[in-house]
């Protein structure tokens, strides 16, 4: 698969970035759907350079601090485009440790289960509220209604998807808690 490879090529599509910049992108909205640590990113940048998909120039930050600014090669652009247009099967499993626990709920008392689900609900509500805030900021920054050609369309896609995902989690948790609290 080497999905990190494509994540890096994709991030470089708009211009040059350092490994540090790439690391930071994974801490922002993109991190909702993909991420990697710098210890994985730096070796991957080396590999992509060796393979000819990216290249770098050395820039100086301040007076002495060296950083490598990477850009896509033409071969890298082609590789990115081939991946972007490829239609993959949807994954059978999307791992979720909380849902694994939920499957084993028969090993908990009703009180323990309500406690676990209530904790999850609170955490999901908090995350939802953060995402709602980011979404509002994005919408307010637009001077036109969002459309395919908006420069922020990718940003809009990941934010709305993450938002819907969390809304859906919260609603499901609320519904299940209502069922669980019913007298048996």
């Amino acid at each position: 698969m080497r999905i990190l490879k494509y994540a890096i090529l994709g991030l470089l599509r708009k211009g040059e970035l350092s490994g540090y910049d790439i690391t930071n992108y994974f801490k922002e909205e993109l991190g909702q759907f993909w991420s990697a640590k710098h210890s994985q990113i730096y070796p991957e940048l080396k590999k992509l350079t060796d393979e000819g998909f990216i290249e770098f120039r050395t820039a100086i930050q301040g007076t002495r601090l060296e950083k490598k600014m990477y850009t896509l090669t033409e071969s890298g652009e082609q590789e990115l485009h081939a991946w972007l247009t490829k239609k993959d099967p949807i994954p059978e499993t999307v791992k979720d440790e909380f849902m694994l626990k939920a499957y084993f709920i028969s090993s908990l008392t009703q009180e323990e289960a309500v406690d676990l689900f209530t904790d999850q609900l609170l955490k999901r509500q908090l995350k939802l509220s953060d995402l709602q805030h980011s979404y509002n900021e994005l919408i307010e920054s637009l001077d036109q209604p969002i459309s395919f050609s908006s420069p922020d369309f990718g940003h809009y896609l990941v934010l709305t998807k993450a938002l819907e995902r969390e809304k859906n989690y919260v609603t499901w948790l609320e519904d299940i808690l209502a069922v669980m609290k019913n007298q048996q």
Copy 2:
């Protein structure tokens, strides 16, 4: 983390299973939220046995075929319960290759993007329909309305959650496709 460890302990909570049985559970509804290949399961069973969380007896299938039937030890039950009641932070990243592509949508033409999203929509609709079918079967098999004490409550939880997840994906894809098809 060693989540597979807990997945195995959890599956063994209701009685003895072979490694092969465990492999099959990951192909059913639980596989929506956790799975592992047999090549990962057999070594983990060995490790859990060495650690004293599970034990096995050798059973004979047919006349000669040996299989190992595993059960939880008391220590294993405690370990499972401790994990089940532990409240973890929610993960920052839930990886989704399609959403990674979505973030890079500015590198596609409108036609390519509509094509990619339409393909995803079709696949998600198909999966939704399968899940809806499994859900209907489960509901019809119940002789009482679902509740915390139903033996199938865990099954109900994973099925409803997977169903809502796919419904949510489909709705979002339809909404985005409508935006993308708008005249610029």
